[in-house]
Amino acid sequence: MTEYSSVDAAEAPDTVWSERASLIDRVPRSLAMVLLFAAFIGVWQLVHVLRLVSPIILPSPFEVAEDIVFVGTNLLSGGYMLGALWITVKEVILGFIIAMAIGFSLGLLVGETGFGERVVLPYLVAIDTMPKVAFAPLFVAWLGFGISSKVALAAFIATFPIVVATAAGLHVANENERMLFKTLGASRWQTLFRMKLPTGLPQIFTGLKIAAVGVMAGAITGEFLGGGKGFGELIRVAASQLDTPRIFSLIIFLSLLGLALFWSVVWVERRFVFWHKTSVAGGPGL
């Protein structure tokens, strides 16, 4: 952006035909983002001031900000909310680990073996088309109201993107790469670990990022539907008391948790897939 703004239009001769960025593109990105956020808050405040929506349904931005500070202090001082957050964090992390373990195994089975592709894959596709949230009551019936039923739902939702991404990633290697490994007399394991898996890593990480989002949704939905003591339960309680500022602030802290998980995946991706340009640039806020 700076190279454009440094061109002084008045000094430049008329005959020079230069590229000029539009007004919006010349605003620095961070400033533009802050401005957009301020505009959003402004509209929100306006809606509140003009009483377009009942304040019970839509609190003012200041009420929400106040509550964010309250929740933040509670979390930092080790209050009851920190305990709830910790439960949700455990659900998310356990769910993600289980989803990766099952997802990679099934992905390898489907991507590497004819049996997996011809026999297992159709069933996986069939299950994947089901609304997975509908399984929540079943997990509660099987695993009770504790943390395990939430972990199960979170893992269940997050497994499929990993399966699909792993299976697809194993097919990314092109004919030349396969031929090269054949001429080298590589074994099946060598071909898998030295060529197919590394070549498919960008795809696999895309699946992991989708799973990271899904695992959060799974854990919170599990708490909504199956009780428990996590952050989702705090939201449910706040909603039952029509404490809308609290709902907003809890959602904001949840989104921080989601971002932390997402960025951990991106961080690992950058270390392993340093050679792949487009995938490294993926993700919000980069």
Partner: protein
């Protein structure tokens, strides 16, 4: 095949050299004999010789090369390298493709030692770094050992691929249109580099190409193939002094060879 017999008699200059690679009565058909890809092919490559095969697309050149590399079994016939039959991929066969096929997560030198790593393990690959460095030096890539392939140009990547092919010190080099993805200037240059490296290593090479001048300027012998089912319609010994230079591209003798091959290919196309 009458011509083939004549040509082998005529190759007196190479008579002293042992035969490295031999195909005897090799045929290939697909789908239980429904599609004949290769008619009977006989081929003898002398040690240190450079041969090229040229033919219309779909004539079975790549099938032939795959059989020679041990990637595909012939339907009938014998394939023998250095006295032992080729029954699968072998470390004494080096191969190079149209694409350099370097892996982006490996540095140049790690790509070069990949064949050793696959065949003998990571320790042997580490031990081969010295040899790989010497090869990179030989192809003019000294100093690029620790660079990742995305920093290499197309020609440089193909040089690294040459090193990867040579690192196991194969007795036989199979080249599948190795420089056809490069621009013409780089291709001419790389062909001369290939000749230099082959002379230096005394390598036996077999090249598949679509370019007649390229086949002529590089080869001691050019095999002209018919459309499918592929067979050699003529085997032409190229009697030009070594080392060949790019100046020879305008040499009338080379022009005569090119015309001869082109007329053979044109005849084939209308049959």
């Amino acid at each position: 095949m009458r011509l083939a017999a004549v040509e082998t008699d005529r190759a007196v200059g190479d008579a002293g050299r042992p035969t490295v690679y031999e195909l005897r009565q090799v045929t290939k058909s697909y789908g239980r004999g429904a599609i004949r890809a290769l008619d009977t092919v006989d081929l003898q490559l002398k040690s240190g010789s450079f041969s090229a095969i040229i033919g219309p697309s779909g004539c079975g050149k790549s099938t032939l090369l795959k059989i020679m590399a041990g990637l595909v079994p012939p339907t009938s016939g014998r394939v023998v390298l250095n006295g032992t039959p080729v029954m699968g991929p072998r470390r004494d066969i080096g191969m190079m493709f149209q694409q350099a096929t370097l892996f982006p997560w490996r540095t140049t030198i790690e790509n070069v030692v990949l064949p050793i790593e696959i065949r003998d393990g990571a320790t042997a690959a580490k031990a081969a770094h010295g040899r790989a460095r010497a090869l990179l030096e030989l192809v003019g890539l000294g100093g690029f050992e620790t660079v990742y392939p995305d920093k290499l140009s197309g020609g440089m990547a193909q040089r690294a691929a040459i090193c990867r092919m040579l690192v196991t010190e194969p007795a036989m080099l199979l080249l599948d249109e190795p420089f056809s993805a490069l621009d013409e200037l780089s291709r001419d240059f790389m062909n001369m580099e290939l000749q230099r490296i082959c002379l230096e290593k005394d390598a036996t090479a077999f090249l598949v190409t679509h370019s007649i001048p390229e086949a002529v300027i590089l080869s001691d012998t050019v095999y002209v193939m018919s459309p499918r089912p592929g067979r050699f319609v003529e085997i032409i010994d190229i009697d030009l002094p070594r080392p060949r230079t790019l100046d020879m591209l305008t040499d009338p003798r080379l022009g005569a060879y090119v015309r001869r091959i082109r007329s053979l290919l044109d005849e084939g196309a209308f049959q």
